[in-house]
């Protein structure tokens, strides 16, 4: 992993044309509690991005990122770094993408877009 540009989401070095409306690190699924009372977590995290409304061009870019890797490949993604005291970005490699989910159109604009990024080693 390398320290990337601050304030810029990027996929394989390509900057997002439209920043997500909401985004953040998602809670890791707890696998169980060990005998000492400590939760057991997976080592990877996930990051979710949401857009309320996008242009078809913006949507097409997000879909394009997914199509690059689809079911088999991995992606380097620049995201706000996990566990830092300030808002900075970091490049995480080896991530996988879940196919973007799209909601209803509103006035010819795709709405409620959600992109989930998985397998992020922090």
């Amino acid at each position: 992993m390398t320290t990337g540009l601050s304030g810029t989401f990027a996929f394989n070095g390509t900057v997002l044309s439209l920043e997500p409306t909401a985004h953040g690190w998602r809670e890791r699924t707890q696998l169980g509690i060990d005998g000492g009372g400590h939760p057991v977590y997976p080592s990877v995290r996930s990051y979710e991005m949401k857009w309320d409304l996008v242009t078809p061009t913006d949507l097409n870019q997000v879909l394009g990122f997914y199509n690059l890797v689809q079911n088999t490949g991995t992606m380097s993604v620049d995201l706000p770094e996990w566990g830092q005291t300030d808002y900075r970005f970091r490049t995480y490699s080896g991530t996988t993408l879940v196919e973007p989910v799209m909601g209803d159109f509103f006035n010819q604009h795709p709405g409620s877009i959600t992109l989930l990024i998985l397998n992020i080693r922090t």
Binding site: R28, T29, L31, G32, I33, D34, G35, G36, H38, V40, Y41, P42, S43, V44, V69, N71, T72, G73, T74, L118, N119, R121
Partner: protein, 803 residues
């Protein structure tokens, strides 16, 4: 396996991530041709071919797989093992299941798989009472069972990624074992690798720079090259996803992976969403990238430097299923042992000999040798998997395997003879192990490889508790055989807990063990009973770590420590436990690979008791422990003459026929006298005294064998020349002249009596319709002799057997 302390701590570092990758070995074709024999028929073993459309015949090696199909490259008609090849003929193994026909397509794959190898027995043309044994149809016995070979170990089938342009794999012959302790030579061939070969026992690292599927080969030879054993290892080299054009299978799912010692290995279920060649018996490898915290390192696996190889299996026949709606194929892959369960072998019997001269004789046999013979000459299993025997071994006189699966043949032998099992580990090596509880000191022989405490499990462990004994009395018995050179046997029986059973539970016996001594057997019985009755026999845990260092084989122990505060049961427990079953859960999204493990308790027991047997005969210093009972000839039945009662009136009537002779007749019976008559005086009435003078008729005589003897005394001297007195015995209908016996005696001069020669006895065979007619007559012999009336006579007719 035992990890170093730093690695053991790394194993416990969380969070953990495992990324599994799926490889299915794709064998390449070495030759394509067609059958060229219009008269080929069922059972053909020599297949003439032509129309070679790819490859060369000298790339064909013995043991390769030949596909037979109706179109090029297909095996829809069947597949068979190649024995040899020339430029125009394949010789294949014995078969009856292939419908051979001219112009069928033949495809030779550079692939060795599991086959049974059949024996053949024919009548000896030179000796109608003899038979000749062959292995694999035509391999005659020369000296194979006297120059025993090698269990060759070359490591698991494997797969790897190129990194920075090359993949690096490690090779070692660790675990290789020659039966006779020969000095071995090694010949490695690394197809696709660098170096391309080696003659070292442990070549070390070999690099591969080109993705592909390769066959590695290790040939091990014994002293003077008298034995040759070959092992093939399949290697698949890939590009990492996104880093090249040769990635492994990427769209797939592991739906289940579990295994146990009882099952003898592992079985996994897969779904594959890609178009990939899948065939039964194909080698499947799951290889891994692991992270423990931020450390990218793999741990575990029994083969050195093969930690990334997580599972090796073979696709099971009849499990390949296509889901055309959702475009995936699903199949099961399992350990070599599971594959061996599906292949049937012929029955095998072998006897230990000093100098074996037949296929059914084996030199100074013990367990390792018997198993080697079976695997080497009745299967091809040792060509494609490592086999290793672990534990104490003893001489045995006979090895018998039923006509059963290959797995059952060797597993049953281990279980019955050595209280052992045959189990495959996750990487595909087959361990033939004496059970830990059968060791003289189980807990001392298996020191813990890992302490397990509460930080290692999730939730609460499930502790099985045995509230009463399952077995109250265990009896083990077998033979301590000294070996073929000295050939002594001792039959041994031991009981546990002792001669007095426990108070609850069933009785169990285990006969047929190969043993060393009574001390060994007694301790074994005690240990086995203690392990079968331990109070906390099993613990099940969901692990919080991937515990890749543990496996179902070879046997190893962990020291499990449960504090009273660790469970709601408030139970404190610390003991050695053997991992005996695994169920792996793989979450590919989060990279989680965690097992649920069943652990089985291992304890030491108190020594059992000798069960005394009756002293056995010794002969020439040989303790014949088991003596063959002598041939017991049943006693001959007593000859019993049934009592028979002749009506007195009948006798009197007979007597009255004597015509007024002054006599007395005595009729009496004892157990064996049918008729007895005694007369004191018989008056001779005939003038010439030469003819019959009296006849006695005995009628109503039961059929049977009769003994007749008589005594006659003449009242006066026979004169100067004596007189003769004749009594003839006639048997037949009354009046018949048939004579079956006649006796004549001459009463010597000066004597007054003699015994009729019939006194020596005359045997008469009487049927029920016969009438014994006894005729007496007197006559003179010599000159001057004067026949005299007999003074008295006695005649006995005794039945000695009935008809």
């Amino acid at each position: 396996m035992r990890l170093s302390s730093p690695n053991l701590e790394l194993l416990r570092t969380r969070p953990q991530q495992t990324r599994l990758y799926l490889s299915i070995f794709q064998p390449r074709e070495v030759l394509r041709a067609q059958v060229n024999d219009a008269s080929i028929a069922k059972g053909a073993r020599t297949i003439t071919y032509d129309n070679v459309s790819g490859g060369v015949f000298n790339a064909v090696e013995a043991g390769m797989t030949l596909l037979v199909g109706t179109s090029p490259g297909e095996g829809d008609v069947g597949k068979i093992r190649i024995r040899s090849a020339t430029s125009s003929v394949f010789t294949v193994s014995e078969n009856s299941n292939i419908a051979w026909a001219n112009d069928l397509y033949l495809t030779v794959l550079r692939y060795w798989e599991l086959w049974p190898v059949y024996p053949r027995i024919i009548n000896d043309p030179a000796d109608a009472e003899n038979v000749i044994f062959y292995k694999d149809y035509d391999i005659a016995y020369t000296n194979q069972n006297g120059v025993l070979g090698t269990y060759v170990n070359a490591g698991p089938h494997r797969a790897a990624f190129r990194e920075n342009g090359q993949a690096t794999l490690f090779y070692s012959s660790t675990g290789t074992f020659n039966i006779l302790g020969d000095t071995l030579t090694y010949e490695w061939a690394f197809e696709g690798g660098n170096p391309t070969g080696s003659t070292s026992a442990n070549p070390g690292n070999v690099t591969y720079s080109t993705p592909g599927h390769y066959v590695q080969r290790l040939i091990v030879r014994g002293d003077a090259n008298l034995t040759t054993d070959t092992r093939y290892v399949y290697v698949s080299i890939y590009d990492k996803p996104g880093e090249g054009s040769s990635p492994p299978i990427l769209q797939w799912e592991l739906t289940d992976l579990s295994g146990s010692r009882n099952e003898g290995g592992y079985q996994a279920s897969f779904k594959v969403y890609e178009d990939v060649f899948i065939d039964e018996n194909a080698v499947v490898v799951l290889f891994a990238d692991d992270w423990y915290g931020s450390t990218n390192q793999s741990l575990g696996g029994n083969y050195p430097n093969a930690e990334k190889i997580f599972f090796v299996g073979h696709i099971l026949k009849d499990t390949i299923r296509y889901n055309y709606e959702h475009s995936y194929v699903e199949f099961d892959a399992a350990s070599m042992t599971e594959l061996m369960k599906q292949a049937l072998g012929f029955s095998v019997s072998v006897e230990s000999k000093v100098s074996p001269a037949k296929w059914y004789e084996l030199m100074d046999m013990n367990g390792k040798r018997a198993l080697y013979h079976y695997l080497r000459w009745h299967t091809t299993a040792m060509n494609i998997a490592d086999f290793q025997f672990v534990g104490a071994d003893y001489p045995i006189q006979f090895f018998d395997a039923d006509r059963t699966s290959m797995f059952d043949a060797i597993d049953n032998f281990m279980r019955v003879t050595l209280l052992g099992q045959v189990v495959s580990d996750r990487q595909g090596k087959v361990w033939m192990e004496v059970g830990a509880d059968a060791y003289p000191n189980p807990t001392g022989s298996f020191t813990s490889v890992m302490d397990i405490s509460k930080r290692d499990w999730m939730g609460e462990p499930t502790i099985e508790e045995r509230l009463s004994d399952d077995i109250s009395y265990l009896e083990l018995n077998g033979i301590a055989y000294s070996g073929v050179n000295t050939g002594t046997f001792s039959a041994l029986i031991a009981s546990a807990p002792g001669n007095a059973p426990a108070f609850r539970g069933s009785i169990e016996t285990h006969p047929g063990l190969a043993l060393a001594s009574h001390a060994q057997l007694n301790q074994m019985a005690g240990n086995v009973w203690a392990n079968r009755t331990s109070p906390y026999p099993k613990i099940n845990m969901n692990m919080a770590i991937n515990a890749r260092n543990l496996d179902i084989a070879p046997q190893e122990t962990t020291n499990i420590s449960i504090l009273a505060s660790d469970t709601v049961r408030n139970l404190a427990l610390q003991s050695l436990y053997v991992p005996s079953a695994f169920n792996w859960q793989y979450n590919s999204r989060d990279g989680i690979l965690l097992p649920s493990i069943e652990f089985t308790n291992l304890v030491n027991g108190n020594v059992g008791d000798t069960v005394d047997m009756a002293e056995s005969d010794t002969e020439a210093g040989i303790n014949t422990g088991f003596s063959v009972p002598g041939l017991q000839i049943p006693p001959l039945p007593l000859i019993t003459i049934p009592s028979f009662s002749v009506p007195t009136g009948t006798i009197q009537a007979i007597v009255s026929q004597l015509g007024g002779v002054r006599y007395y007749a005595q009729v009496g019976w004892n157990n064996n006298t049918f008729f007895q008559m005694k007369s004191s005086v018989i008056t001779v009435e005939d003038a010439d005294r030469t003819g019959p003078v009296r006849q006695i008729v005995i009628s109503n005589v039961p059929g049977g064998i009769y003994y007749v003897f008589g005594y006659v005394r003449q009242g006066t001297s026979g004169g100067s020349a004596g007189g003769w007195f004749t009594t003839s015995i006639n048997v037949g209908k009354q009046g018949s002249t048939m004579a079956v016996g006649q006796a004549q005696e001459t009463i010597p001069s000066g004597s007054t009596s003699c015994t009729l020669s019939i006194a020596a006895g005359l045997l008469l065979s009487i049927t029920a319709s016969d009438i014994i007619e006894i005729t007496m007559s007197t006559g003179a012999s010599g000159s001057g002799g004067t026949p005299q009336d007999p003074a008295d006579f006695a005649l006995s007719v005794m039945q000695i057997s009935s008809s």
